[in-house]
């Protein structure tokens, strides 16, 4: 019923667009992955301040297009823009919230967390090189488990998505074969499998198809009671997907190493790090056309960093660590300025 709420939200968003002319709502567009938490924050923020958020969850690609066309105050993307792209367009970028991507399976008798899988095996399954569940490569990782000899049905996203970007980024990092034959993108030429639209589509297909494997945002795996697997991370340790292992991956990341905090959290070092952790970013102009609107947006983000952590955790997202938030806020006052060179928003 997830998309019902999306549909309702879309109607709401449409209704909001009409009213934005009078009320100074914050307008943004982009990624669908953080949409539930942005919506929750927006509700609470509106109750506190009376200022609403009009966020169109049209996808990362759409968000980038809209912010470049300057039709919204901020854009949101699950895949970071490169330093060159940021410089060319005059955009500032910062991470807002994190989550985890988990492999989900549907095998008779296998319960959540029963199965362990590692990156190279996952890549081989998604390349169609491992086709049966009782393949020696899977058996080796799960000694003593009784695995059926049934065929593996691979389920992937059919729409372009930030989730796919992070997933394929991880597979490219752990498998040279994947890197050279398939690559990393929001949509790729899948060697095998069934395509399904959206996280909810993949979740439903995995739930309905015996012998299937797919990848979804952690929240979707929990909500649909899907069988997620454990994974072996870069340090060779077996980890289960939890907010803690997502946060662990984030804490090992060197955020200042990339322009615009564009660190992809897949395959991070650390004994407790979940290998497929992902952040989602906000894009905003360094010299906004409407400094007042940009200031309102930044005020909302500052509020979300400070007060939104618990709400994010309730929805199985991971809030940004304090040191990163401090860095981001420092960047705001240093980089985001009006035409007179004055910062549009200063932390008090």
């Amino acid at each position: 019923m997830r998309f019902m709420s999306y549909a309702a939200a879309a109607c709401l968003a449409a209704a909001f667009t009409i009213t934005t002319a009078q009320a100074a709502d914050i307008s943004g567009a982009g990624a669908t992955f953080p949409y539930p938490v942005y919506g929750k924050w927006a509700d609470a923020y509106k109750k506190e301040t009376g200022i609403g958020l009009n966020y169109q969850s049209i996808g990362s690609g759409g968000g980038i297009k809209q912010i470049k066309a300057k039709t919204v105050t901020f854009g949101a993307s699950d895949a970071p823009l490169s330093g060159k792209d940021l410089d060319d367009s005059g955009l500032a970028q910062f991470p807002m919230v994190m989550g985890g991507i988990v492999p989900v399976v549907n095998i008779e008798g296998v319960k959540p967390g029963d199965l362990t899988i590692d990156g190279p095996t996952l890549a081989k399954i998604f390349m169609g090189e491992i086709t049966k569940w009782d393949d020696p490569a899977i058996k080796k990782l799960n000694e003593g488990a009784s695995l059926p000899s049934s065929a593996i049905a691979v389920v992937h996203r059919s729409d372009g998505s930030g989730t796919t970007f992070n997933f394929t980024y991880y597979l490219s990092a752990v498998s040279d074969d994947w890197k050279s034959k398939v690559g990393t993108e929001k949509a790729v030429e899948w060697p095998v499998g069934i395509g399904a639209k959206g996280n909810e589509g993949v979740a439903n297909n995995v739930a309905n198809t015996k012998g299937s494997i797919g990848y979804v945002e952690y929240a979707y795996a929990l909500q649909n009671k899907l069988t997620y697997t454990k994974m072996i991370n870069k340090d060779g340790k077996t980890v289960a997907p939890t907010s803690d292992t997502f946060a662990a991956a984030a804490s090992h990341a060197d955020w200042s190493s990339q322009p615009g905090f564009g660190v992809i959290l897949a395959n991070q070092p650390g004994a407790d790090s979940w290998p497929m952790t992902a952040a989602t970013w906000i894009l905003i102009y360094k010299q906004p056309k409407d400094p007042a609107a940009a200031a309102e947006a930044l005020k909302f983000f500052a509020w979300a960093y400070k007060d939104g952590g618990k709400m994010a955790e309730e929805l199985d997202y991971v809030p940004m660590p304090d040191n990163v938030v401090a860095e981001v806020e420092k960047m705001w006052s240093a980089d985001i300025k009006d035409s007179a060179g004055k910062p549009v928003f200063a932390m008090n």
Partner: protein
């Protein structure tokens, strides 16, 4: 009463008055003509606009790949190599499956309802078919994914694989593994979706057959089958083909229901149970997140191809009708 009539007579005898009234009629007529003409021309303008924007929007693709776009099987957003063949193949194959299953059933329903069915049942079945037409396509998609596909995967597909396992060609067509969703599932859902369209049109045209023709046939001892075969169907073939074409049009362009159950894979494999994709499903899936000029443009090019396929189908239907008319000497 008489006084009034006299007054009207005088009124009408007044030439100037009459001319004015006639002029009024003429202006009214002209305005009416202009309005309807504008409406008709608007269709042409819209059509031209659609064709123009499809061609304009797909130019980068034609420049990059040329006609190779039509024959290439690759659909790779990473390397930006795009080809339309899997989508064209899926569109045509699912529509053919839908027609192979949908048309005989539709005709059967229509024949039963007009010729054989008792009056009471006729209403019930008629309403049921109309309701089927009113169900939004997304409902078919959800039903297909949640109810039909799991059932299909658990019971029908394994049986099909077993039955055809030792028959050459057919064992290729019905090769596993059973996923539940795929080209065949999409074709079956489409068959259900086109049923009401074809049925209601053929039913109506069957009703137009003059009873005297049928009675004459029955009178010389024809069976029901012979009456249908020799009298009703020949008499109504134009209408039947029209109904079939309408159904085919819907099957070719159907988006949501197909997207749910086809598996959305840009591949061509011999098995009709494998996942595939159609033109409209690809566009619906990928347009929102298509980044880069070539990716977007390739999706627009797919739209242009669908436009042409639909056009060719309609043209072929016309041609077929003309042939039949000629042969029949009507």
């Amino acid at each position: 009463m008489q006084e009034e009539t006299a007054a009207i007579d005088t009124f009408l005898r007044d030439e100037a008055q009459r001319a004015r009234i006639l002029r009024g009629f003429r202006i009214g007529d002209r305005t009416f003509r202009l309005l309807t003409e504008t409406a008709a021309i608007a269709v042409l303008v819209i059509l031209a606009g659609v064709i123009f924007s499809l061609i304009y929007g797909s130019m980068p693709t034609w420049r990059a790949f040329g006609l190779g776009f039509l024959t290439s099987e690759s659909w790779n957003p990473v390397t930006e190599k795009f080809g339309a063949l899997p989508a064209i193949y899926g569109t045509l194959l699912t529509s053919i499956i839908a027609m192979l299953i949908g048309v005989p059933i539709s005709l059967g329903i229509a024949i039963f309802l007009t010729e054989i069915c008792p009056e009471k049942l006729r209403r019930t079945i008629g309403i049921a078919i109309e309701l089927l037409a009113g169900i939004p396509s997304i409902i078919y998609g959800i039903w297909g994914l949640f109810v039909f596909a799991p059932f299909f995967q658990a019971y029908v597909q394994p049986a099909l694989i077993d039955i055809f396992a030792n028959i050459p060609v057919l064992n290729q067509l019905f090769a596993g593994p059973p996923y539940g969703i795929g080209l065949l599932t999409a074709g079956l859902i489409l068959a259900i979706m086109v049923l009401p369209f074809i049925t209601s049109i053929t039913r109506e045209v069957f009703d137009t057959v003059p009873p005297v023709l049928k009675e004459a046939a029955y009178g010389i001892g024809c069976t029901r089958w012979e009456v249908m075969r020799r009298v009703v169907i020949p008499y109504t073939r134009v209408g039947i083909i029209g109904g079939v074409m309408l159904g085919l049009g819907r099957a070719l362009g159907e988006t949501m229901a197909v997207t749910f159950v086809i598996g959305n894979a840009h591949r061509i494999v011999p098995s009709i149970m494998a996942p595939g994709t159609t033109i409209s499903a690809s566009i619906a899936n990928e347009f929102t997140e298509a980044v880069g000029e070539l990716y977007t443009s390739s999706l627009v090019a797919l739209g242009l191809i669908l436009f042409f396929i639909t056009f060719i189908v309609l043209a072929a239907a016309r041609l077929m009708l003309m042939r039949i008319e000629k042969k029949a000497g009507v």
